[in-house]
C-alpha cells in the first residue's frame, strides 16, 4: 500500500528512533561480549602457557563457550532486527521515489551527485550473513538468479543496448533501472541510469537484461558466494555507467572490502589495466580511488559469454595475471 509523503516520513521517523534506542540497548550487550571474549582469551593463554589441557580446564572452557554462544546468539538477533529496520526504511524511501517518478517528476542529479548516489546504494546493499548450514539465496553476491526470475521495478540491472539504439553509438552493457516488465511481450522497460543522455528509455528482451545482486555476500561466513580470483566478469568501469570486461584479482576479504579487478585496456602494454588497490571504505572517509569497483555492479560471466562472442577463455586471463605479479 503506497504511503503519502507524510505517512512515509512518519514511518521512517519511527524506525529511526527505534534504531537509535536499540543501539543504546545493544551497547550493554556489546560490552558484555567484549568482557567475555577477554575472559576466554585469558583462559586460552593460560592453557597455552601450561602446555596441556586438563579436564578441569576443558570443563571450564566448555561452560565459557556455551555462555558466549548464547550471548552471541542474542546479539545476533538484536543486530538482525536493527538491520531489518534499516532495510525497511530503504524500501519505504525507494517506494516513495518510484511513486514520485510515476507521477512524472524525475529527480535530476548532476553527474557527480549521481555517481555518489550509485556508490552509496552499492555500499548500503544489505549484507547477507548466513546462519550455519544455510545456502546463500539467489542474487546474493555471485549466486545467479533463478532462470525465471523477473526483476522488480526499481531494481538495478545491466542492460545490453545495441549500437543503433545507443546514444553513444556503440554496443554497450549499461547500468539501468527496471521500470516495468511486460508479461505479454516478455520484455523489460528500463531506464538508463545516466539521465543526461537524451533517450533513456529502452524496451529490451529478457536475454538482454542481467539482474544485479540484491545482497552482498559476507566473505567471512559465505566465501562461496563470491567470485574467485581469475574469474572473468563484467564490471562497472569507474566514473562511467557502463560495464566492461574485467578479471577478479582479489575478492573482498571482509564485509567492508570491495573486489579488486583489472579491466581489459588496449592502451596498456599487456592489454590490461593495472590492478587497483582497494582502500578501506570507512577508515576515515578517504576520497574514493576512482577505480574502485563496487560489488553491486557485477554481472555474471556466463551471461556475458552468451551475448558477447569474442571473449577469450578465462585461463588466458589467469595466466596474464600470474605473469604480471
Amino acid at each position: 500500500m503506497p504511503f503519502t509523503e507524510e505517512q512515509a516520513a512518519a514511518q521512517v521517523q519511527d524506525r529511526l528512533i527505534s534504531i537509535a534506542s536499540t543501539v543504546h540497548d545493544y551497547e550493554t550487550q556489546r560490552l558484555k561480549t567484549e568482557q567475555q571474549v577477554e575472559t576466554i582469551q585469558k583462559a586460552h593463554d593460560k592453557i597455552n602457557q601450561e602446555g596441556r589441557l586438563t579436564p578441569y580446564n576443558q570443563q571450564k572452557l566448555m561452560s565459557l563457550y556455551m555462555a558466549s554462544i548464547n550471548d552471541a546468539a542474542a546479539e545476533e538477533e538484536t543486530l538482525r532486527n536493527m538491520l531489518i529496520k534499516i532495510r525497511e526504511i530503504r524500501e519505504i524511501c525507494n517506494e516513495r521515489r518510484l511513486q514520485v517518478r510515476s507521477i512524472g517528476n524525475r529527480e535530476s542529479f548532476h553527474r557527480g551527485a549521481m555517481m555518489l548516489m550509485l556508490q552509496t546504494s552499492a555500499q548500503t546493499l544489505p549484507l547477507y550473513v548466513g546462519k550455519p548450514n544455510t545456502k546463500p539465496p539467489p542474487l546474493c553476491g555471485a549466486i545467479p538468479p533463478d532462470p525465471n526470475y523477473i526483476a522488480k521495478p526499481g531494481d538495478m540491472v545491466a542492460a545490453f543496448v545495441k549500437k543503433t539504439e545507443s546514444p553513444t553509438q556503440e554496443d554497450n552493457w549499461m547500468l539501468a533501472e527496471v521500470v516495468l516488465y511486460n508479461v505479454i511481450s516478455k520484455k523489460y522497460e528500463v531506464d538508463d541510469i545516466d539521465e543526461e543522455q537524451q533517450n533513456c528509455r529502452f524496451v529490451l528482451s529478457r536475454s538482454r537484461i542481467v539482474p544485479l545482486p540484491l545482497m552482498r555476500a559476507n566473505p567471512e561466513t559465505d566465501p562461496d558466494a563470491l567470485f574467485p580470483p581469475g574469474t572473468l566478469v563484467m564490471a562497472l568501469y569507474p566514473t562511467t555507467t557502463c560495464f566492461y570486461k574485467a578479471i577478479v584479482n582479489q575478492p573482498p576479504l571482509s564485509c567492508l572490502d570491495d573486489y579488486e579487478v583489472v579491466f581489459e585496456d588496449n592502451s596498456c602494454a599487456n592489454g590490461y589495466s593495472i590492478p587497483y588497490n582497494v582502500a578501506q571504505r570507512y577508515g576515515g572517509r578517504v576520497e574514493k580511488p576512482k577505480n574502485e569497483i563496487s560489488r553491486k555492479e557485477y554481472i555474471y560471466l556466463v551471461t556475458c559469454e552468451k551475448t558477447l562472442r569474442q571473449i577469450k577463455t578465462s585461463s588466458d586471463y589467469g595466466e596474464l595475471l600470474v605473469s604480471k605479479h
Binding site: Q58, I69, M82, L83, C255, Q280
Partner: protein, 412 residues
C-alpha cells in the same frame, strides 16, 4: 591492512598450539565511529539518513563477528567433546592460520616430530609386550615417515602407526624364541595326554557315601509310611547305617565268593542251622577286618583279577564322578592330541621359515652388493668409460649367487 578484527588469540599463542579459534570482536574505536557517535546522543534522538548509511555497515560488521564467533565456538566445542577425531578440516581458522603464518610451519614440524616420537615409543612398547624381537620393524618404519611427510599438518595422525604396531607381531620374522615357545607348548600337550592319575577313593567318600546310599535305599523302601517325619528318619537311618558298618554285612562280591566256596546248601544236608543268626555271625567274623565293606570288596576284586578269575574290563561299578572324570580325561586327550598335531605342524613350518629367512638375509646382502656395484658401474658409464673386467666378473658372480639363492628359496 585488512585486519579489522581483533585476532589476539591467534597471535598470542607462543607456547603450545591448541588451535583455539579466533573470537572476532569489532574494535569500537577503530571501526564503530558512527555507532559511537549515536551512543553519545540521547536515546530518543532521531538519526539522519546519512548516519544510517554509515551505521548500517558497522552493524553488519558486528553481526558478521557475532555469527562467526558462534560458529567458531560451536566447532571448538565439537572438537573438545571429541578429542580423538581430527577435526582440523572443520576448523577453517586453522587452515587460514597456516597459510598466513610461516612460523606455523616450523611449529607443525615440531608437532610432527613429537607425534613420530610417540609412535615409535608406542610401537616399541607393544612389541616388547609381545615378547618379540623388534628387529623386524621394517614395515612400520618404512611406512610411518612417508605418511607423515605426505600430510605435513596432521600431527594427530598416528592411527597408521598404531595399526602397524598391532600387526607387527603377526608378520615379523620368526625367531628362536618363537620356536622355543612352540616346543614348550608341545610338551604341555604331552602332559595333558598322559592323563590325570586318579587316586583311590578316600575314607571320607567310602564311608559317607556308603551311608548315604544306604540311607537313600532305606528311604525309598520305608518312604511310603515314614515320609512325614524326615528329621527322625535321617537320624534313624544314620544309626542303621552305622549298624550296617558294624555288623559288616558283606558286599555282593563277597557273598558270591562265599557262596561259591560253600557247597550248594540243599534242604536235606543243611537243616535250619545255617540260617541261624549266631552261626552266621561266627562265619562272617572270620572275614578280615577292613574299615568298610566297600574296601574289602575292592580288595577281593583285586585279588580275583590277579588270579585271573574276574575280567578286569567289566568295571562298570565306577561311581558317576569317576565316570565323569574319565570322560573329561578322554576329551582332554583328544583335544591335546589335536593341539599337538597342529603345533608340530606349526613348528615344522616355523623351522622351514627360519631356513628361508636365513636365505633371504643372505640374499639381501647380495642385493646390496649388487646395487653398490651397479652404482659404481653407472657413474663411469656416464663418463663413457668401460667397466673393468674384475668388477664385471664380480658382478656376474653375485648375480649368479643370487639366482642360486632364489632357486633354493623356491625349493624350500
Amino acid at each position: 591492512m585488512k585486519d579489522q578484527r581483533n585476532m589476539e588469540s591467534s597471535e598470542s599463542q607462543d607456547e603450545v598450539d591448541f588451535g583455539f579459534p579466533p573470537l572476532p570482536v569489532v574494535d569500537k574505536d577503530k571501526h564503530l565511529q558512527c555507532y559511537s557517535s549515536v551512543l553519545t546522543r540521547a536515546e530518543n534522538d532521531v538519526l539522519s539518513m546519512e548516519e544510517l548509511d554509515h551505521l548500517q555497515p558497522e552493524l553488519e560488521m558486528l553481526l558478521s563477528a557475532a555469527v562467526l564467533r558462534q560458529q567458531n565456538l560451536q566447532s571448538q566445542i565439537d572438537v573438545l567433546s571429541h578429542p580423538q577425531d581430527d577435526l582440523s578440516q572443520d576448523r577453517p581458522w586453522m587452515q587460514k592460520k597456516r597459510k598466513l603464518n610461516d612460523n606455523r610451519v616450523s611449529k607443525s614440524m615440531k608437532d610432527l616430530l613429537k607425534a613420530r616420537d610417540n609412535a615409535s615409543k608406542m610401537s616399541s612398547i607393544s612389541s616388547s609386550e609381545n615378547e618379540t624381537d623388534n628387529s623386524a620393524d621394517a614395515v612400520p618404519e618404512a611406512t610411518s615417515p612417508k605418511s607423515n611427510t605426505g600430510k605435513l599438518a596432521l600431527p594427530k595422525n598416528d592411527t597408521s602407526n598404531k595399526f602397524w604396531a598391532s600387526i607387527d607381531s603377526y608378520c615379523s620374522n620368526i625367531t628362536e624364541d618363537n620356536i622355543k615357545e612352540l616346543e614348550q607348548l608341545i610338551s604341555c600337550c604331552d602332559n595333558d595326554m598322559a592323563g590325570v592319575k586318579i587316586p583311590p577313593v578316600g575314607r571320607h567318600y567310602t564311608e559317607r557315601w556308603a551311608e548315604q546310599e544306604l540311607a537313600q535305599e532305606r528311604n525309598l523302601n520305608s518312604g511310603r509310611h515314614l515320609s512325614n517325619s524326615s528329621d527322625s528318619d535321617t537320624v534313624s537311618l544314620l544309626k542303621k547305617a552305622s549298624n550296617m558298618c558294624h555288623d559288616r554285612s558283606p558286599g555282593p562280591l563277597v557273598q558270591r565268593l562265599v557262596s561259591a566256596l560253600l557247597e550248594e546248601p540243599t534242604r536235606d544236608s543243611f537243616p535250619q542251622k545255617i540260617s541261624d543268626d549266631s552261626e552266621n555271625s561266627i562265619f562272617l567274623g572270620k572275614i578280615p577286618l577292613y574299615h568298610t565293606t566297600a574296601c574289602f570288596e575292592r580288595r577281593i576284586r583285586r585279588e580275583l583279577e590277579a588270579a585271573g578269575y574276574l575280567d578286569s574290563k567289566n568295571k562298570d561299578e565306577d561311581d558317576e564322578i569317576l565316570v565323569e572324570i574319565k570322560k573329561c580325561e578322554e576329551e582332554l586327550k583328544a583335544v591335546a592330541s589335536l593341539n599337538k598335531e597342529h603345533l608340530c605342524r606349526l613348528l615344522g613350518q616355523a623351522k622351514e621359515e627360519m631356513e628361508r629367512q636365513k636365505v633371504r638375509s643372505i640374499m639381501r646382502e647380495v642385493d646390496e652388493k649388487i646395487i653398490s656395484i651397479y652404482k659404481k658401474a653407472v657413474t663411469p658409464k656416464l663418463k663413457k668409460k668401460q667397466l673393468r673386467e674384475k668388477k664385471r666378473r664380480q658382478a656376474w658372480k653375485l648375480l649368479k649367487e643370487r639366482e642360486a639363492l632364489l632357486s633354493r628359496l623356491a625349493t624350500l
